[in-house]
């Protein structure tokens, strides 16, 4: 098994088992994503304001990508 061609097995365990904490759904994540990103960029406690969204990002690769894109774009647009 080529270690470089595969994810580290600890990471694989994390992907398979997902986040432990309560998480919101994909639809709720999309509905709250803009608010979450604006809170993050304002330096506010986004995770306290919108509980469960961070856990969902840990568990859902597609929503995580959507979050990374929005955060990166809005940050670059305001720079």
């Amino acid at each position: 098994m080529n270690a470089d061609a595969n994810p580290r097995r600890e990471e694989l365990v994390g992907r398979l088992l997902g986040p432990v904490g309560p998480e919101i759904t994909c639809d709720e994540c999309f509905a709250q994503l803009d608010r979450y990103v604006d809170l993050e960029l304002a330096g506010a406690d986004a995770d306290r304001t919108i509980p469960g969204l961070r856990a969902h990002l840990e568990g859902c690769p597609a929503c995580r990508e959507d979050h990374e894109s929005l955060l990166e774009y809005v940050r670059s647009e305001r720079a």
Binding site: N6, V13, T25, C26
Partner: protein, 208 residues
């Protein structure tokens, strides 16, 4: 709601030339966001040609504009209007690119990496506990999940199939598939705990 967001809502709700100008400005913003997303992902999609990138960005901007106008009443000012709007453009572009990247490809629902589970020997950089856990996860995937849960878990977490692509292929929704994934993970955690492995049980939210 901040003043800029209020202005956007007022202009988009106006009649005639003011609304047309606002729509044109908004579409330009959406197009810039969609181009950003396409540019960000193009390195991972060598099969896309230059013209495809621009077509995809233009179509994503159009689709985002339609979605935004349909949901305008839902905007409550919890974020800046532009952040809310960009979300749609980035999503449309990302979803199109994910679909495009899997076009004509079979979606793998079977594990292609079972040796990862079967190999009980830890590599020098890994501890024995991880190997034991992974081996137990492999067994639990085979024995404790339904066939549907196993397929979804394997496709999304092992084979990297985007959940929206999978939803389209299986004619279901992203939300329904994620619920299946969540249930599969809960069963896995419970099965591992029953075997005495140090795995925290999954905490349920009220909405799941």
């Amino acid at each position: 709601m901040d003043a800029e967001s209020r202005t956007w809502l007022r202009r988009l709700g106006a009649d005639g030339a003011e609304r047309e100008r606002a729509l044109a400005e908004l579409r330009e913003l959406l197009l810039r966001a969609a181009r950003f997303e396409v540019g960000r992902r193009r390195a991972r999609m060598p099969q896309l040609r230059g013209g495809d990138h621009e077509d995809l960005a233009q179509q994503s901007a159009n689709d985002a504009l339609v979605a935004i106008l349909a949901k305008l009443d839902d905007f409550r000012g919890d974020s800046r209007f532009t952040t809310w709007a960009y979300k749609f453009a980035l999503y449309e572009a990302a979803a199109s690119l994910r679909r495009r990247s899997w076009q004509g490809r079979e979606v793998p629902l079977e594990a292609e990496d079972w040796p990862l589970f079967a190999d009980r020997r830890s590599r020098p950089d890994e501890d024995a506990e991880t190997s034991e856990l992974l081996s137990a996860i492999g067994e639990a995937i085979e024995n404790d999940l339904t066939a549907h849960q196993r397929e979804i878990l394997v496709a999304v977490t092992l084979n990297g199939v985007p959940i929206d692509v999978l939803a389209e292929r299986l004619t279901t929704t992203r939300g329904a598939l994620y619920k299946t994934l969540h249930d599969a993970r809960r069963r896995l955690r419970a099965a591992l705990a029953e075997r005495g492995l140090p795995v925290e049980p999954l905490v349920e939210s009220e909405t799941q």
